[in-house]
């Protein structure tokens, strides 16, 4: 198991390195001058040249890349094109909010998707199964900002149960913090759970026909044992795989949800950077997001290997 883990980790490092090269090339291969574009009509040639020199953008590309990547290795994300300030402290400041939202969202995703898919698969053709299929399709067609907007309209505007957005650090007031997390996380949960539910349903249906489940009944095991130890435990394996796969959608969706609910996370920082055309910031943040994505995926994969011993082979 440990060897397996080390192997997986060793694959991740060159992947991220290669991604950094690609990202860097992408940013610098785009035609036109982003700085001129950013400054707009005020951008006199002198001003552009001055800014270039200040941010070190007049150096050769490989020097710039080396500077960036060696900084990254030490946790230095570089400086903002606009303000010239260090990016790292700003990101660190925002990471708790982002992680809190990610985890609560995953919680809701599983809370909705797993039971719905499992019950629909176990009682195939029952009312719950018949509702699930169209509901999942509708859910898959709903943009996350639309789900969020509807939640705001119902829970905040109509019922006035929750504020329309905002963030309080967990350490400051756990209850209020979670109260504010509820709606954005629920929006992401509703957004992600249909796909999960579909997969769990398909797996559960297939599991019931597996010989080891039939044999469990042959052994006279109680139906509770079969449901929990045979069906559910095996159905959880694909849940992990799906969550790993869905992480991209989650992180993308989170960017939008953070915007919608005024949630001061990394996603919002990214959008702010994009709107201001601060490409140095965007470039570093994308790599941060990709790293989070790859690391969480790695974690999911290791958890998967732990839960399903066959994967380790």
């Amino acid at each position: 198991m440990i060897r397996y883990a080390i192997n997986r980790i060793l694959i991740v490092i060159p992947l991220l390195l290669a991604l950094s090269v690609l990202l860097f090339l992408y940013v610098h291969a785009v035609p036109g001058d982003p700085i001129a574009g950013m400054l707009g009509p005020n951008g006199s040639p002198e001003l552009i040249a001055q800014l270039r020199a200040e941010r070190g953008l007049d150096r050769p590309l490989y020097v710039q890349y080396w500077d960036w990547i060696s900084g990254l290795a030490q946790g230095d994300l570089g400086i903002s094109l606009i303000s010239g300030q260090q990016i790292t402290p700003v990101v660190i400041n925002r990471i708790p909010a982002t992680f809190q939202l990610t985890f609560v969202s995953l919680f809701f995703t599983v809370l909705i998707g797993l039971p719905a898919g499992f019950l629909a698969g176990k009682y195939r053709g029952s009312w719950i199964d018949k509702i699930l299929s169209p509901a999942a399709l509708l859910g898959l067609s709903m943009p996350v900002f639309w789900i969020g907007t509807l939640l705001i309209l119902i829970l905040a505007v109509q019922l006035r149960w929750l504020p329309t957005g905002g963030y309080i650090p967990f350490a400051q007031s756990p209850v209020d913090s979670l109260r504010l997390t509820l709606m954005p996380a629920l929006a992401l949960g509703i957004h992600l759970s249909p796909f999960l539910a579909r997969m769990v349903r398909a797996t559960t249906i297939e599991l019931q026909q597996e010989q080891f489940v039939v044999q469990a009944r042959m052994k006279g095991l109680r139906s509770r044992t079969i449901t929990y130890r045979y069906l559910l435990r095996n159905a959880i394996v694909p849940v992990l795989v799906v969550l790993g796969l869905q992480l991209g959608t989650l992180l993308g969706g989170q960017v939008i949800v953070e915007q919608l609910f005024n949630w001061p996370g990394v996603g919002r920082l990214l959008v702010e950077g994009a709107i201001q055309r601060d490409y140095l910031m965007v470039q570093s943040l994308i790599l941060v997001v990709a790293t989070i994505y790859v690391i969480v995926n790695l974690g999911v994969e290791l958890l998967h290997a732990w839960l399903d011993p066959r994967v380790r082979l």
């Binding site: 990202l23 574009g37 067609s141 943009p143 639309w146 907007t149 095996n234 796969l245 993308g252 965007v282």
Partner: protein, 305 residues
Amino acid sequence: MNVVDTVNSMKPRFGRRTMSVPAGGVRAITLRAIIGHKRALLGAILTAVVVLMAIVSVFWTPFDPMAFDTGEPFTPPDFAHPMGTDVYGRDILSRIMAGSQVSLMVAAAAVAGALVMGTVIGLVAGYIGGVLDLAVTRVVDILLAVPGLVFALGIVALLGPSAQSVTIALSVVYTWQFARIVRSVVVSVRSRSYVEAARGLDASPLSIMVKDILPSVVPILIVQVTTALAWGILDEASLGFLGLGVQPPDPSWGSLLIEGRQYLYDAPWLPLGAGTMVVIAVLGVNLLGDGLREIVDPRAGRSTS
């Protein structure tokens, strides 16, 4: 089949949704097959409604979508303004109709660009193979680590917020999905007898690619195009919602939703129309895509839907 195999077989290899090449080849998509397929038909109808609305809006909208004070600001939905008015008294329905042009145009143009670039990359990589193929596969694998929307956002950041930037950004993101799919089909048909035969006849690589290989890619591409269109509409609206798409005062579904977010308590009806339109459009294209997928490969739909 054990659970691990099952799950692995469901794992999309790239992006949100892709499809594999069915072992027995693919079936042709005919109008009759679509009409005979309940969900595909419903999807086609919903899609047609949205497209029709966009076309009508070119020639006629109830009010000028840009005109102020067509009624009192924040008029709730009534007979004259079926979806109410916004803060400047502009007619929401007219703006939704005009916005549908932008949404559909951006999605269609992005997908068209990705289709052309992706098909060329996939064809060449898959047909020539070797180092080139390896490079393309690796690039796709690496880009997989960046969520599509975040990737697009990064490109828009470079180009500056506008409808054109969104189109280019989405086009670049989707290109790799198309390349991946086309490549996998090409690799699977490359060694089939008719391609071998064409090669034996000393046909030029270009003519083999276009005449012998491309036709077997087409049905799968049609399905992928519908799927990509659904995501295009969704992503355009998302980027618009983030303020990176069409800039005010021009209307788009995404920007109408931002305005809705600003005046939630004053005019809760503001975002309803635009949001519903996005859902109808995406649902329609999704249904059509799912239907086509099942028509092309009857086995594909059964396991997941």
